[in-house]
Amino acid sequence: MSHLTLSAVNFAWLPILPLAAVAAGAMAIMLIGPGVEDEDSAGLGILALITLLAALIFAIFTLGENSLAFGGSLATDDYAAFFEIVILIATALTVAMSLDYVADEGMAGAEFYALILFAAFGMMLMAAAGDLIIIFIGLETMSLAVYALAGFLRRDPRSNEAALKYFILGAFSTGFLLYGIALIYGATGTIGLAPIRAALNDRAAENPLLLLGLGMMLIGFGFKVAAVPFHMWTPDAYEGAPTPVTAFMAVGVKLAAFAGFMRVFMANLGPVSAQWTMVLWAIAALTMTVGNFAALVQQNLKRMLAYSAIAHAGYLLVGMAATPRAMAGGAMLYYLIGYAFTNLGAFAVVIVLERKGAGGATLNDFRGLSRSRPGLALAMTLFMLSLMGVPPLAGFVGKFYVFSAALSAHLVWLVIIAALNSAVSVYYYARVIVVMYAQEEAVTAPPRLAPRPGLVASVIVAVAGTILVGLYPQPWLDAANSAYASALGRSATRIAALR
């Protein structure tokens, strides 16, 4: 038995630096945490922000570095770097909007920020995964941390319910994913994504083992992106969880889930796309329709945004259904940037308006906001318009690219369904704007908290992102396209080296 050397490990510092920074930050917070009182936990949040900034710088350094490290376990491509950067920004915004919330609600600060960083670590791992084992470990790290975060409101039974529901259904769906991974391993004899792609040929598509594995993995990922009919947990989990955690679930978890979903299915199971795009067609149509129609009747903004998140997962799945088209992937990545900024902003506004113990703001809390807080009302209007898909905001441009990719794949009916759904969504998004501008503030309303610097900063960043990504789409779209191409190219060119 030869001695183990670092070269035998195929060791590479660069791809693990962003991951290692986040993990180290989480552990540092846990070490410092016991000496910090819960109401002073904002300092730990600042430490988390510094960690995320360092990881962001490392992630930017990995751009343009298309290689596989650790025997194919980690993919250091632009796709991974792209998602790592977006996930880190989304996590930083989440931390910024939690700074005061965590202290006000008396939540355990050290554990909160450590778990947020652990979840971010899992998300980044999913984005950078080179084989199915890493996808699974990333998903589990993220999920376990978020299950716990959802139950962090100690005295609120809704928070307990959210955590329990999310945990039980999540564990169930992870079982599906793991079973699917095992079956795919059985069918192809490998767990590496690139070797799986190489092993797929015309005969592979007839292998019942592979098809069963595909179906199981589809269910597992479908749960994490909250696609209908695997969405039942979403409204309750989103409503009960602490609002910054809800924002994190709606944006971070969805980003990571799509990162894994797209890398596995679009980039590496593309050769058998005929076997699963039809299923995705149906799931996309169902997800959009159920999400939008259920959102119509919601009074609680958190619940409305939960259904809105389901609907947006449906729009993204329209892009996935167009799979062999290379432009669909780039369009989806672009869409996810806009989605992240817009949703984080909307949730930040909800946190500002939330009353203690009320479990999220209702439409009534938005009455007359244009007079009491004109800036906040304007920001919320922007977010709602972007979610609606009004030009020139990020939401519109994203939808435009995704739908045109679907049209080029001749999914005319699916695009018609998507367009009709967008029209339906105007009603519930516009209602928020109408309430803010056309209705008087309720006289009996108790006074609101003063605006907090962390929240204000995250709203401003979200507004800037929503406008910039929409007004100047080209650089973002180019980045998204080259990121997606790197996920495809790696699969095509590096196979020989791996086998």
Binding site: N10, I16, A26, G71, A108, I133, A145, R155
Partner: protein
Amino acid sequence: MPQWLFAFLAALAIIGALGTILQRNLVHCVLGFALVLIDLGVLYMGLGAVTVGFLQIIVYVGAIMVLFLFVIWLLNIQADTGVRGGASLSLKLVGALAAAALAAELFVVFSHAPKLREVRTIAPAFGSVATLAHVLFSRYLIAFETTSLLLLAAIVGAVALARRLAGQSAEVAAMPSQPGSAARESRREVA
């Protein structure tokens, strides 16, 4: 492995299995089951699969049996409560059917098994701790290390939530109006 040792271990495994299903006391049943698992681990080692043998003992006896005992302890099942009298007829029927299916499956598997003289011996390093360690710390290094972070995240989450429950009960009793103080109280207790 000498023939007599195999016969002894095999007989011990059957005794343990009978002990698992025939005893009244649940804890005794679990101990019988543990005997079977340890015995199987020793059998594996005797056949040259040392790593598998140790993993069998670590995973099954170390983790799964402890889980069984925890469940018995958490549900507070008393030593003298067991299934008294015979099981219902339908339960017996289902059990007999399952046993028959298992026997049929085993018969099919063994009748299709290769003849003993056709079995090839494998390289001695196959499945050894050294080989396993080499794969684990080279090809699967990232998977191995990230799994430890996964467990750490799970522990932090579990501790955060479990501590919350302890704080809640103390707070309901004493200080319903001071949010957060109960948690700090319990943190001091932990510290």
